[in-house]
C-alpha cells in the first residue's frame, strides 16, 4: 500500500507538508552559502589573531597548524604589554553599557507602563509655552550673555505664572498616543544634531570624559526603543491582578514593582539585550564625549588605525575581545530576542 503511494520523482514531496528532495537540496545549499558568508569573516578574524606578521602576507594561510604555526604573540602583546591601555577602555565599556541599559530600562518601562494605564491630557498650550520659554533661555544666554542659571530660574518662574494665568484658556489637549509618538520619534533624531550642544553642556558642568555623561546620553538615545517595545508588553499584560491589588490598597509603585515587572520579564530581557548591544557598540557619542579617561572599547579599536597602521594580528585580538561578551550573552538568551523584537514590530 505504502509503496504504491510513494512517488519517485525528485520534484514531488514524499509526504504532505515536506519539501521535494530537489528543493530541499536547493534550500540547504542556500542556507549553507549564507552560513559561510556569516561565519567566514569571523573565522578569518579568529585565525588572524594567532598569526605572526609573516603569516599575514601573500599567499593567504587558511588553516592553523597546517598552513602556519599559531602563535600567541598578539594576545600576549594586547593583554600583557599593553595591559592597562586595553583594560581601561574595556572596563569603561563594562561599566557604561550595562548601567546605561539599566537606567534606560527603569525609566523607559515606567513611562511605558504609565502610558498604557493612565490617561494623560497635557494641554497643547502649556507645551508650546514651555518650548518657547526654553528657546528664550537659549537666546538670552547666547545673545545677551545672561548667566544660564538666572535665565533658567526666570524662565521657570515665568512658566509657572503663565500657566496660572492662562492655563484655563488652553483647550486643545494632547493624548497618550501623542506622548508615545513624541517619545518614539526621538529615535529619528540623528545623534549628531544633539552631540555638539551635549558636549558643550557637559563641558560647562565639568563632566566631559566621565562615565556619568556617557551613561546619561546613552540612556536617552535608547529610551525610545525601551518605551516602544515595553509599551506593547504592558498592553498585553492582563489587568485583573493589578486591579485587585489596587482594591487592597497597594500603591502604584508597589503594583509596578511587585506585579507588573515580574509579568513583563521576557520583554524586559529582550529589550535589555537589544539596548545593551546598542550601548556596547555605540561610537559617535563616545567620540564626542570621551577622550582618555572614559574612552570606550569601540573607540580604542577605531583608533588603532591612526596610531600604528593596520596591524591585523593585534586588531583581530581586539575585535575578538570586543565582541566576545555580547556573543556569549546573546547566544544564551537568543530565544527572548526574537520574541521581543516580534512583539514590538508586529504591533508597531
Amino acid at each position: 500500500m505504502s509503496k504504491a503511494v510513494r512517488r519517485t520523482s525528485l520534484f514531488e514531496p514524499r509526504r504532505y507538508g515536506e519539501l521535494a528532495p530537489a528543493s530541499k537540496i536547493a534550500v540547504y545549499g542556500l542556507l549553507a552559502l549564507w552560513s559561510t558568508v556569516v561565519l567566514f569573516p569571523l573565522y578569518w578574524v579568529a585565525i588572524t589573531s594567532f598569526k605572526l606578521p609573516i603569516d599575514v602576507a601573500y599567499p593567504p594561510k587558511y588553516l592553523p597548524f597546517i598552513d602556519y604555526q599559531p602563535s600567541l604573540h598578539a594576545w600576549r602583546y594586547i593583554f600583557v604589554d599593553l595591559g592597562n591601555d586595553t583594560f581601561r577602555p574595556y572596563m569603561n565599556s563594562v561599566i557604561v553599557a550595562p548601567l546605561s541599559t539599566l537606567l534606560a530600562l527603569i525609566i523607559g518601562s515606567m513611562a511605558a507602563y504609565a502610558l498604557s494605564r493612565i490617561q494623560y491630557r497635557p494641554s497643547l498650550g502649556s507645551v508650546v509655552t514651555f518650548i518657547l520659554l526654553l528657546a528664550g533661555v537659549v537666546l538670552a544666554v547666547a545673545l545677551a550673555g545672561i548667566d544660564w542659571r538666572i535665565a533658567t530660574l526666570v524662565a521657570f518662574v515665568l512658566f509657572f505664572f503663565l500657566l496660572r494665568a492662562l492655563g484655563s484658556r488652553f483647550r486643545r489637549r494632547l493624548g497618550n498616543g501623542d506622548i508615545l509618538f513624541w517619545i518614539i520619534s526621538q529615535r529619528i533624531l540623528p545623534p549628531v544634531v544633539a552631540a555638539i550642544p551635549v558636549y558643550v553642556m557637559f563641558q560647562k558642568l565639568h563632566m566631559l570624559d566621565t562615565h556619568a555623561a556617557l551613561i546619561a546620553t546613552y540612556a536617552t538615545v535608547n529610551l525610545p526603543i525601551v518605551v516602544w517595545l515595553m509599551y506593547d508588553f504592558f498592553v498585553a499584560v492582563p489587568k485583573d491582578l493589578e486591579e485587585s491589588a489596587q482594591l487592597d490598597g497597594a500603591s502604584r509603585f508597589r503594583i509596578f514593582i511587585g506585579i507588573v515587572l515580574p509579568l513583563a520579564k521576557p520583554g524586559l530581557i529582550a529589550t535589555g539585550l537589544l539596548v545593551l548591544i546598542l550601548a556596547w557598540n555605540e561610537y559617535l557619542l563616545a567620540l564626542f564625549l570621551s577622550t582618555a579617561k572614559a574612552q570606550t572599547i569601540p573607540l580604542l579599536v577605531a583608533a588603532q588605525n591612526a596610531t600604528r597602521g593596520p596591524q591585523w594580528w593585534y586588531m583581530s585580538v581586539l575585535i575578538i575581545i570586543m565582541i566576545a561578551p555580547v556573543l556569549v550573552i546573546t547566544i544564551t538568551l537568543q530565544k527572548y530576542i526574537a520574541k521581543g523584537l516580534l512583539l514590538g514590530a508586529v504591533k508597531g
Binding site: 515536506e18 519539501l19 542556507l31 552560513s35 561565519l39 567566514f40 569573516p41 569571523l42 578569518w44 578574524v45 602576507a57 601573500y58 599567499p59 593567504p60 587558511y62 525609566i107 513611562a111 504609565a114 526654553l134 547666547a142 517619545i183 526621538q186 529615535r187 533624531l189 540623528p190 545623534p191 549628531v192 544634531v193 544633539a194 552631540a195 555638539i196 550642544p197 553642556m201 546619561a216 540612556a219 536617552t220 538615545v221 529610551l223 500603591s251 502604584r252 556596547w280 559617535l284 567620540l287 564626542f288 572599547i297 569601540p298 579599536v301 577605531a302 591585523w312 586588531m315 570586543m322 565582541i323 556573543l327 546573546t330 526574537a338 523584537l341 516580534l342 514590530a345 508586529v346 508597531g348
Partner: protein, 367 residues
C-alpha cells in the same frame, strides 16, 4: 512625616512615572536641538581667552546649498542625459497622479496637503539631485551618498533578509542552528565590522587574494575607486543588518496562520502564488515596520565609512553624519550644525511620510 511623604508620592505617582523620561528627553534631545538650531545660524570663532558666536542668519545653509561647500554637500552637477529626464518625468507623473487621487478621494485637510506638498517637493528635488550627480561627469556629495546608503542598502538588506527568513521557515531539520548563526553579525560592533571587511577586502593579502590574481585584479585597490569603496561600505552594513530583518521576518512568517496556506496549496496554487496572495498581505505590516526601523538607523550611518575608508577616496563615501563630524573637528561648529539640521530635515520628512502613507494604511487595512 514619613507617612505624609508616602501619601504625597502616591498622589503624584501618575506624574512621577512619566516625568523621568520626559526630563531626560528634554535635557538631552530637545534642549540640545534648540541650541543646535542657534549654532546652525551662527559662525563660531576662537578668540583670545575663549570663543565667540556671531549670528549670521542662514549663511551656513546658503553655503551648503549654493556656496563653497556645495560640492561637499550636494555634489558636482553634470548635464542630465535624456534617460535621466525621462525617469524624472515619470516620477513627477506618478507623484502628480497620487496627488490627484488624494484630492479626489474626499475632503482634503490642510495638514495633509502641506505634508504632501513638502514630501513631493523633497522627493523631486532629491531625484533631480541624484540624476545630476550620478550623470557622467558629476560627483556625489554627502547628501546623495547618504541617500544611496539608505535606498540601495536598505532595499538589498530587506530582499536578502526576507529571502533568508523564507528559507528558514521551511520545515527542515537544523533550523535552530541556522537561526543562531544568521543572527550573529548583529552583535558585532560596527567598528569591528569595518576592520574585518578591510581585512577581507584586502586584494593583495586577504583571503580572496588568489581569486583576484586569477582575474588579474591583484593590483587594483578598492579603496581608491569611488564605487568600489561605496560598495564595500554597503556590503559591510548589509552583513550586519540583514540578520535583524531576517529574525523579525522569520518570526512574522512563523506567526501567520497555516490554514489559508494549506487551503491554497490544496487548490494547487504555486509557491509564488501563495506568497503573493496569502503570505505577503499578512506580513506586509511587519515588513513596513522593520523597513522603517532600518531607514531610521541607516540615515545615521557613520562608523563604517569613517573606519573603512575615512570618507574617501576624496569624499566619495562620506555620509551626512560623518560630514557633520568632520566639520566639528575642524571647529566649523556652525557648518556642522547646519549639516546635522539638513540631515534631521530629510530623515524626519522621509520617516514620518513613510509612517503616514505606507505603514498606517497597511495596518488599518489589516485591522
Amino acid at each position: 512625616m514619613k507617612r505624609m511623604l508616602s501619601l504625597w508620592l502616591d498622589r503624584q505617582s501618575d506624574r512621577l512615572f512619566i516625568l523621568p523620561s520626559v526630563l531626560m528627553i528634554l535635557a538631552f534631545s530637545i534642549f540640545p536641538l534648540l541650541i543646535s538650531a542657534y549654532l546652525a545660524l551662527s559662525r563660531f570663532q576662537l578668540g583670545i581667552g575663549g570663543y565667540q558666536l556671531h549670528f549670521v542668519g542662514f549663511a551656513n545653509f546658503a553655503k551648503l546649498l549654493f556656496g563653497t561647500e556645495q560640492y561637499h554637500f550636494l555634489g558636482v552637477f553634470a548635464p542630465i542625459p535624456w534617460l535621466g529626464w525621462l525617469l524624472l518625468a515619470l516620477l513627477a507623473g506618478l507623484l502628480g497622479a497620487s496627488l490627484v487621487r488624494y484630492l479626489r478621494g474626499g475632503p482634503a485637510g490642510i495638514a495633509g496637503l502641506i505634508g504632501r506638498a513638502i514630501l513631493m517637493t523633497l522627493i523631486l528635488a532629491l531625484a533631480l539631485l541624484l540624476a545630476a550627480t550620478l550623470a557622467a561627469g558629476g560627483q556625489l556629495g554627502s547628501l546623495s551618498v547618504t541617500l544611496l546608503y539608505v535606498i540601495l542598502g536598505v532595499s538589498a538588506q530587506f530582499v536578502c533578509g526576507l529571502a533568508l527568513a523564507m528559507l528558514c521557515s521551511q520545515r527542515i531539520a537544523g533550523r535552530g542552528f541556522f537561526r543562531v548563526v544568521f543572527f550573529l553579525p548583529l552583535m558585532v560592533t560596527p567598528v569591528g565590522i569595518a576592520y574585518m571587511f578591510r581585512m577581507l577586502a584586502d586584494m593583495t593579502q586577504g583571503p580572496l587574494a588568489p581569486l583576484w590574481r586569477l582575474f588579474g585584479l591583484g593590483d587594483l585597490s578598492w579603496a581608491s575607486q569611488a564605487w568600489s569603496a561605496r560598495l564595500v561600505v554597503m556590503v559591510g552594513d548589509s552583513w550586519q543588518w540583514i540578520p535583524f530583518i531576517f529574525i523579525v521576518m522569520l518570526a512574522a512568517l512563523e506567526g501567520q496562520s497555516q490554514d489559508q496556506v494549506e487551503a491554497a496549496s490544496l487548490d494547487g496554487a504555486s509557491y509564488w502564488q501563495i506568497f503573493r496572495g496569502v503570505t505577503w498581505p499578512e506580513i506586509a505590516p511587519v515588513a513596513a515596520t522593520v523597513v522603517l526601523i532600518r531607514v531610521i538607523e541607516a540615515f545615521k550611518i557613520i562608523d563604517l565609512p569613517n573606519v573603512l575608508t575615512n570618507g574617501g577616496p576624496g569624499i566619495a563615501t562620506e555620509s551626512l553624519t560623518l560630514h557633520s563630524f568632520i566639520n566639528w573637528r575642524t571647529l566649523d561648529l556652525g557648518g556642522s550644525a547646519a549639516v546635522a539640521y539638513m540631515l534631521l530635515f530629510v530623515s524626519t520628512v522621509f520617516c514620518s511620510s513613510f509612517f503616514n502613507f505606507i505603514m498606517q494604511p497597511l495596518r488599518s487595512a489589516r485591522a
